[in-house]
């Protein structure tokens, strides 16, 4: 019985880890609280849904549509909104709170555009639902696919950040923004790369989620919350930390719900969220102060 839960936890956790990875890239470099992150996941999910429903495209192929689309959205957002915002002195005075409101407005817009275009109803599609046996558990193939792809990307990310120059530069940028510019790291360009990649990964996660869950315009927010919890717990910019945090949260959630009841899921998510923010905000900025 418990290996069934464990596999389920791994599947959920790997998706969480992926979403947290994307958030880490946006949040870590620009220090802006992107509360619209979950909505990008939602968009990826809808791309996959319409891909298979209208065009019969295999969701795995949809990944190659959703990711560039999400990244393009990131670019549009970056140039269209943020570059302009940064020019206003008053905006910059309270940039963190202001950008949070901007992202929040964006998430409201995205949710409602989706609701308007696609109706608020939950939707789902059937894909790879044949049950197989894996590691002492029964589960549909689609969950295995999700686990495989998520794991692949996450491991790839860990390797990338250790080995490649760009990866190391990004880590440097996350830890020491001003010093990075001084040692010649092209900050603006990397900001853009991280922003778009973060959005792209969120889009990918959305496709994966759509394979196994029902989707709706309002599905994004819980993912945003869990992503923030993971990033805070795992440490900002710490790729390995957020992977571990994602898996941990997947385990906590799956086992927690199994022990109590599905209706407690939200209480647990938000409870952990609040506890983490209250008890460990230092994790957000490393040495900096998040407390007044």
């Amino acid at each position: 019985m418990s290996s069934q839960l464990l596999i389920a936890a791994l599947v959920a956790g790997s998706v969480y880890a992926l979403i947290a990875l994307g958030l880490n890239l946006v949040y870590g470099t620009m220090r802006l609280l992107n509360v619209a992150h979950g909505e990008i996941v939602m968009i990826g999910a809808y791309v996959a849904y319409w891909g298979i429903t209208l065009l019969g495209i295999n969701p795995i192929i949809s990944i190659f549509i959703a990711v560039p689309f999400a990244a393009a959205l990131g670019m549009a957002f970056y140039f269209g909104i943020f570059k302009r915002a940064m020019r206003s002195r008053e905006f910059m005075e309270r940039i963190e709170a202001n950008s949070l409101l901007v992202f929040f407005g964006t998430s409201v817009i995205l949710q409602n555009v989706a609701s308007l275009l696609f109706t608020p109803d939950q939707r789902g599609y059937h894909y790879a639902e044949r049950i197989v046996y894996f590691a002492n558990a029964q589960l549909p193939i689609n969950k295995l696919i999700v686990l495989a792809i998520a794991a692949l990307v996450c491991i790839g990310a860990v390797v990338f950040f250790r080995v490649s120059t760009l990866g190391i530069a990004i880590k440097g940028l996350i830890q020491q923004r001003e010093a990075s510019a001084l040692v010649g790291i092209p900050v603006a360009r990397i900001d853009l790369i991280c922003f778009c990649t973060g959005f792209g990964i969120a889009g990918l996660a959305g496709v994966l989620v759509s394979m196994t869950e029902e989707i709706s315009p309002y599905m994004g927010f819980p993912f945003t919350i869990t992503a923030f919890v993971i990033v805070i717990l795992g440490g900002l910019g710490n790729v390995f930390g957020s992977l571990f945090g994602g898996l941990l949260l997947g385990v906590l959630e799956t086992f927690g719900v199994a022990l109590t009841a599905p209706s407690y899921r939200s209480i647990m998510i938000y409870g952990v969220f609040i506890a983490v923010l209250l008890l460990r905000p230092q994790g957000l900025f490393g040495a900096g102060k998040a407390r007044t």
Partner: protein, 305 residues
């Protein structure tokens, strides 16, 4: 009390007295419309006492409204209305102490998402309490009619404006604004920063608690998933930000604008309304900081004080 403040309170009072006539002038639809307007005014003017003055933006203010609604739903028919209302205010104030004490220590943007998270947490706790009590929604019978609710709403709106005016003009308000400008410097000149923040937060919660009671009496139906709606919090923030969250006059503009828009769009295209709200929030935060009122002030070149 200085003459300017007296004048402002006087204007608010006269307008309110005139507004008493509204239920007799129009029909029930218009009374309802103005009731909605008044409740949003009460919510938003209360909100700026904490978020406009100290800069601690609360994105979870609906939690106070929701708790007030819950208390009202539980006590309706048990105790008279004139006792329920203060009880709701008190409950909301108590919740503000419980929330504010830990949360106000957290800086800026984290406070924002924290209040959002708390609001959702309370929502789901109430959902679970209700289902444990085997209640799926509560109906309120023999609720007061819209005219009576209108007068109470008018009173709350008036009170919220007067409170906002008095806070803005007081020593307390000056301390709050200093906290917004530079919290560490404020503490250095002797301001008890935690005490002031908490006081403002509690003050900002009381009237919304009572508004919650009114709203639940109007709809005569209590469903926690509906009443603890995060959209309400977003709307409060947007109305205040659009109008201008620094001075009590600002929210009046923002509320007026968005409520009228809501009347036009909500019935048929609620999503379009929220899209516009989102766009307005973004637009104002980036391009019109200080809101419409702030812009007007600059155009008329009113001096800073």
């Amino acid at each position: 009390m200085n003459p300017r403040l007296l004048r402002q309170i006087g204007i608010a009072t006269i307008v309110s007295l005139l507004a008493i006539a509204l239920p007799w002038l129009g029909n029930e639809y218009y009374t309802g419309f103005f009731f909605t307007l008044l409740t949003w005014i009460a919510l938003t003017e209360s909100w700026i006492v904490i978020s406009g003055m100290t800069g601690y933006v609360s994105l979870g203010h609906v939690v106070f409204m929701g708790l007030g609604a819950y208390v009202a739903a539980l006590t309706w028919m048990e105790i008279p209305l004139w006792a329920i209302l203060p009880l709701c205010g008190l409950a909301a104030g108590a919740l503000a102490v419980v929330i504010g004490y830990p949360c106000l220590r957290v800086r800026g943007p984290y406070f924002v998402i924290l209040t959002f998270g708390v609001s959702e947490l309370v929502k789901f706790i109430v959902v679970n309490i209700e289902s444990a009590l085997s209640q799926s929604g509560r109906v309120l019978f023999a609720a007061p009619d819209i005219n009576d609710l209108f007068f109470i709403g008018l009173g709350l709106a008036w009170a919220s404006v007067v409170i906002a005016l008095m806070v803005r003009d007081s020593r307390f308000g000056a301390g709050l604004r200093a906290i917004r400008e530079n919290e560490e410097a404020a503490e250095t000149i002797g301001i008890s920063v935690s005490a002031l923040k908490l006081a403002a937060f509690v003050l900002s919660a009381i009237i919304p608690g009572m508004v919650g009671a009114l709203l639940i009496l109007r709809s005569t139906y209590f469903d926690p998933l509906q009443i603890f709606n995060p959209q309400t919090s977003v709307l409060i923030v947007t109305m205040a930000v659009i109008g201008g969250s620094d001075r009590p006059a600002g929210p009046l503009l923002g509320v007026g604008f968005l409520v009228v828009l809501q009347e036009l769009l909500w019935a048929n295209l609620p999503q379009l309304y929220m899209i516009i709200v989102g766009a307005l929030l973004i637009g104002v935060v980036i391009w019109v900081p200080g809101g419409i009122y702030g812009r007007l002030q600059r155009l008329i070149a009113v001096p800073a004080k």
